[in-house]
């Protein structure tokens, strides 16, 4: 209960800042400072290169600021929208420059993924083979897995970043897991 209240307070606060930003862009600084690091890391984990990440991060916030009047309040943190923009920017980059996409698997980042895929045995084997398996996923599929398991976001947030419904996100994620299992087995 307490946590819910905390979140909604935060949302209210954000809403206020967003409205103020619409009137005066200088007010956007609050959101900029609040989320810059998260977006930076988000992009860095996909792009790998710090300078490119910096450029893209700047791009993301610029787009956000330019389109802030079109932002819809849907009970989600502002960050979800930023992540969505960031995700799109990264995908554009990968498409345009055919850059290699990165996935962080170390330091327990993929722990949850292991758990959900296999009960106990074959874990080590999975750890070895997972990178190959992930390579075979489509960009959107990879993104979903990463958001849900490596970054541990709730389905609601995953859905919003990807621009689909929550239910859709769940269905897709489980389908991808099945796909991955099949790849593992063959």
């Amino acid at each position: 209960m307490k946590q819910e209240i905390h979140v909604s307070n935060q949302l209210l606060g954000e809403e206020d800042v967003i409205r103020k930003s619409r009137q005066n862009p200088a007010n956007f600084k609050v959101l900029y400072e609040k989320y810059y690091r998260d977006i930076f890391r988000f992009i860095l984990h996909r792009v790998g290169d710090k300078q490119t990440t910096a450029d893209l991060t700047s791009q993301v916030f610029l787009k956000a600021l330019l389109n802030i009047s079109q932002y819809e309040f849907r009970g989600l943190p502002f960050s979800a929208w930023l992540y969505r923009i960031a995700s799109n920017e990264c995908n554009d980059l990968f498409r345009k420059r055919k850059r290699v996409r990165m996935v962080v698997l170390e330091d327990g980042a993929a722990e949850e993924l292991y758990e959900v895929m296999f009960e106990n045995e074959a874990r080590d084997e999975l750890k070895q083979r997972l990178p190959r398996v992930l390579e075979q996923l489509k960009p959107a599929e990879l993104e979903l897995i990463e958001l849900r398991y490596m970054e541990s976001r709730p389905f609601r947030e995953v859905a919003d970043i990807m621009g689909i419904t929550e239910n859709n996100a769940k269905v897709k994620v489980y389908r991808i897991l099945d796909k991955m299992k099949r790849i593992m087995v063959t």
């Binding site: 890391r41 984990h45 700047s58 996935v103």
Partner: protein, 256 residues
């Protein structure tokens, strides 16, 4: 794919630059405004030009033909003029006011089967004018050249009511058709010559020899017409009339 890129908070802070962001934003907004103005200006200009063109056309077309609409006539000059399509046969049985110089709007005659029995059923209907189109600017242009253009339709000498009465009286449902209970409309076209006599009688859509024959007979023997006139001079006109052959049930129903 597996090495985790490390970056500290400090390092990230090094990349932050809000002032720069604001500046970039201003630049974009200014550029957008310019494009926006340009687009609006173009639309406005195009609208003005369009309106001017429309106004000019309207002005041009307004200055002619006070007599109202005519059927699509494009060449008024030669005397033996063939007017394509039809002239209106306005009014029906019992309807007042036939031929006037202006075209009356088309109305379907109610099917009136007056005779009893199965062997008569001729009903006239108004010829459907296929030339009943609003005049284009071009046609009005050519007409403006003849300053005065007065057109009288061809019409039966004794008037339309008499003509319809004649049809009704004379039309005989052909024997050959009764057996098959053929019903339908035969369109007969003919030319009213300078002397008012019908010529070049032809059936446009046949229902069979017997019907065509009867339809032609009817036209050949119909009472005389007055020819159409342009500015007083008689001209030939082509007309067509649909004749309806209908079979009535023996038990005659009262028509409204």
């Amino acid at each position: 794919m597996n090495t985790k890129p490390e970056v500290s908070d400090e390092e990230i802070r090094g990349f932050m630059d809000f002032e720069g962001l604001l500046k970039r934003r201003t630049g974009v907004v200014q550029r957008q405004n310019k494009i926006d103005l340009l687009r609006k200006g173009t639309i406005l200009g195009a609208t003005i030009i369009t309106l001017a063109v429309v106004w000019l056309i309207y002005r041009g077309s307004d200055r002619n033909d006070p007599a109202g609409l005519e059927p699509g006539i494009s060449n008024p000059a030669p005397p033996a003029r063939e007017q394509s399509g039809t002239s209106e046969i306005p009014g029906g049985k019992g309807r007042p006011d036939p031929a006037a110089p202006a075209i009356l709007p088309v109305e379907e005659l109610k099917p009136e089967s007056k005779q009893a029995g199965a062997d008569e059923g001729g009903t006239e209907q108004r010829a459907v004018p296929d030339a009943h189109v609003p005049k284009t600017g071009l046609e009005q242009e050519t007409e403006r050249k003849t300053l005065e253009y007065h057109y009288t339709e061809a019409e039966p000498l004794n008037g339309y009511p008499a003509l319809y009465e004649y049809f009704n009286r004379e039309l005989v449902y052909p024997e050959a058709g009764i057996k098959d209970s053929v019903q339908g409309v035969v369109t007969v076209s003919f030319v009213i010559g300078l002397n008012g006599e019908p010529e070049k009688i032809s059936v446009e859509n046949s229902l069979g020899d017997a019907f065509d024959h009867e339809a032609k007979r009817l036209i050949e023997n119909m009472p005389a017409w007055k020819p159409a006139r342009v500015n007083g001079k008689p001209v030939t006109t082509k007309l067509s009339i649909p004749l309806t052959f209908r079979l009535e049930k023996i038990e005659r129903r009262q028509q409204q």
